[in-house]
Amino acid sequence: MLAAVLSGLIVSILYIPFGKYLKDRLSICVSFLPIALFAYFASFIPTIRDGGHITFHYPWVPSLGINLDFHLDGLSLLFSLLITGIGSLVFLYAAPYLKGHRYLDRFYAYLSLFMAAMLGLVLADNVLLLFIFWELTSISSFFLIGFNNDNADSRKSSLIALGITGGGGFLLMAGLILMGHLSGSYSIQEMLGANEYLKGHALYGWILALVFAGAFTKSAQFPFHFWLPGAMKAPTPVSAYLHSATMVKAGIYLLARLNPVLGGTDYWMYPLVIIGGVTMLYSAFHSLFRTDLKAILAYSTIAALGILVFLIGIGTPESLLAASVFILVHALYKASLFLTTGVIDHETGTRDVTRLSGLRKVLWPLSIAGILAALSSAGVPLTFGFIGKDLIYEATLHTVGVLPIVLTALALLTNVLVLYAGFLAGIKPFTGPLPQNLTQVHLPNALMWGAPLVLALLGLLFGCLPFLADDALLNPAAHAMLQAPIGTSLKIWHGFNTVLLLSGITLVSGVLLYVIRKPSQRSLASIERFNAWSPRHLFGKVAQYSKAFSRRYTHTLHNGFLRVYLLRIIVFAVLLLAFRLFTGGPIRLTLDQLSPVSVYEIIVAAILIAAIFLAVTTSSRLTAVVATSVIGYCICLQFVFYSAPDLAMTQFSIDTLTVVLFVLVLFRLPPFLNLANRLTRIRDWTVASAFGAVISLIAIQVLNQPFDGAVSRFYGDNAYTLAKGKNVVNVILVDFRGFDTLFEIVVLSIAAIGVFSLLKLRLNASEKE
């Protein structure tokens, strides 16, 4: 199993060294991988059908509780087969589609990586492992959307897509960790046991919010949906694979997977139903106005995703079964439509639905695929879509209270619009007269029309023989979502009932709409007038404002003036110190153990203070230097008075050297300008004095503290006997604490080298770094 999941990853890594050899002729070989995987996963069907499930455990980061734990049940099997199945077709399709593209190797690498990530996602039993794969899908999608990276729109779309899904990803991560933290395990199987605790916890709302944020962004729910139409910048096989069949369903998968853990409450249901409902209606409505085939498909995909969220939100057995059916239905017809569109685009060079018609004459096998897929999306009887649609109505009708009416109406409306979109994409290009400019179009490589045709035919097959999919896949999948048996099974014919009526209404009104309404640039323009209120635009505004805010914040804070920075640091320090100084106890000073004061000490101190004052206030640079050296000398005298001869010597000699340095450097510097206004100076004085005062108060505090002189006594006792020196300070410097001294002279050495290089080194223009 691990090999199965990671094989895509390994293949994509192998592309780095071997990619260039695989480029053209051999690229088709890569498709063996998904085909083999499909077969591998298909081999589990019997086990799953018999109600079993399989777990795999590979240790990875056990101390974090993150292991390569995989769990294969109905839900993950459904998705695995979708991923590998549609994957196989897309791989095959892409080989001729991108033939001769200079980055075909990269394309396959990304695609394999994506497939691995997606498989990992749906198989992971560990929420963090799931999250890891979740992010990998985002990243590989980023690279795929930006595949044509010399196109600015393409780059922008991929950034937006990753921005939205990545942002949601981080929230999801927090949510999953919160779940794991509360339930004590990151294993989904173990979380199932803690579901009551989670639902009752005070942070349950937060968990839901965070998980929803992840799921909604990934599955393009309103108002995060707008990245998906943008993602259509990716090559069409990618759109078919990622942005309709698999990746966008990751959010759906997550909701389905967590339904037994978190679901079944109002907090779960209402957000999902509302957001799902809004999404499906909003985007289905939007698809009416598009003229680009891929845009139409994108909006109808969003609508489908909305429907899925909506169904999971309802949470009844019927709705969950409907969801699992609809996942498959949608994957089949939407992938088929995308691939069809890809061929049309590839062969005719346009995707503008207003300019496409009659292609059945030149692309007849493809027209079969397109029309079948469109019919399935419309829910025409004997297509798989019909069964799906039935189940949706079944689900909406089986809710309680006023909900059935509202929800059913919602579903009906959406379905009509989805039907319209499907017809537009799958039927419109093939019917009607063939324009003159398209007569030269000819049928491409069989792989390209074969892939959509297979998918469309599968839709027909399952539509006619639903039990093929039901027991093996869909019922177990729904079972996994509910963690309980579903109790119903798929039927083509339910008898005459409300559901059938609704299906009929849907069909009739949808077809009517298709007949009446023709897509046009004008209607596209009409909807684009509302762009200012579109979430995309609003998000853009938010991004723009937050950037503007960031810019203001950064430039205000980081304004380039050193003194302002220093001022902030000092103010911060003063506030912090003062806060702690004045909270918790008075400041005292016991005077009895202080040393007496002599006149000359006072005089020296007074001179020191006056010299400081002079240094600070003088307007002559040299006077300031003189005053500074006076300060140094006075301190030196204090050191002499208080028994520190070595210190006095060093202080004095260093002070003198500093003066010499200053004097050597100060040549030709202009006099000080008084650059600060009065107010600034008062402010600075206030801050500086506050700091000085705080330091003094702290010093007083410390003086009150009894002093432990054990260390200095040790030095005094052993300086001569053990270290053979009588000047204890020197003994400390070269022996007890010799390391300090060694590295202090290193500091000096570095400074000297620095001075040397600073003044002598002139890089010539060719030396850049």
Binding site: L562, I609, S643, T650, Q651, L661, P670, L675, K726, V729
Partner: protein, 118 residues
């Protein structure tokens, strides 16, 4: 005397800070010197001060016969003084370079616009 030193330390810190907040680089350097002196004096004071008893054992003796000043703060300050000399020497030369570059010691003249980044 401690009180006087406490006062001195406060003033040294305060004036050092004040000088740091000026636009002139010379003043900035003087400010750093003042701060350094303040810190040294603080260590000196807080380690306990003793008058007229240097920590040097008499020529004839092998051990101290009298009380003596704590040598540890002295050793620390010595190290700190030397280190700050190194830093200061470098800083002063940096000042020279600044002056050569912008022809003043006004730090605001030094600010390079972001457009000049490489």
């Amino acid at each position: 005397m401690e009180i006087v030193l406490v006062l001195l330390i406060g003033i040294l810190y305060a004036s050092g800070i004040f000088m740091l907040l000026r636009r002139s680089m010379v003043k900035l350097l003087i400010g750093l010197t003042l701060l350094g002196n303040g810190a040294n004096l603080l260590i000196f004071l807080l380690g306990g001060i003793t008058k007229g008893k240097p920590p040097v054992i008499d020529t004839a003796a092998k051990l101290f016969t009298d009380v003596y000043a704590d040598p540890v703060p002295q050793a620390l300050i010595l190290t700190a003084i030397v280190i700050s000399f190194g830093l200061q020497a470098f800083a002063i030369v940096l000042l020279k370079r600044v002056y050569v570059l912008v022809n003043s010691d006004d730090l605001d003249d030094l600010n390079t616009p972001e457009e000049e980044d490489i």
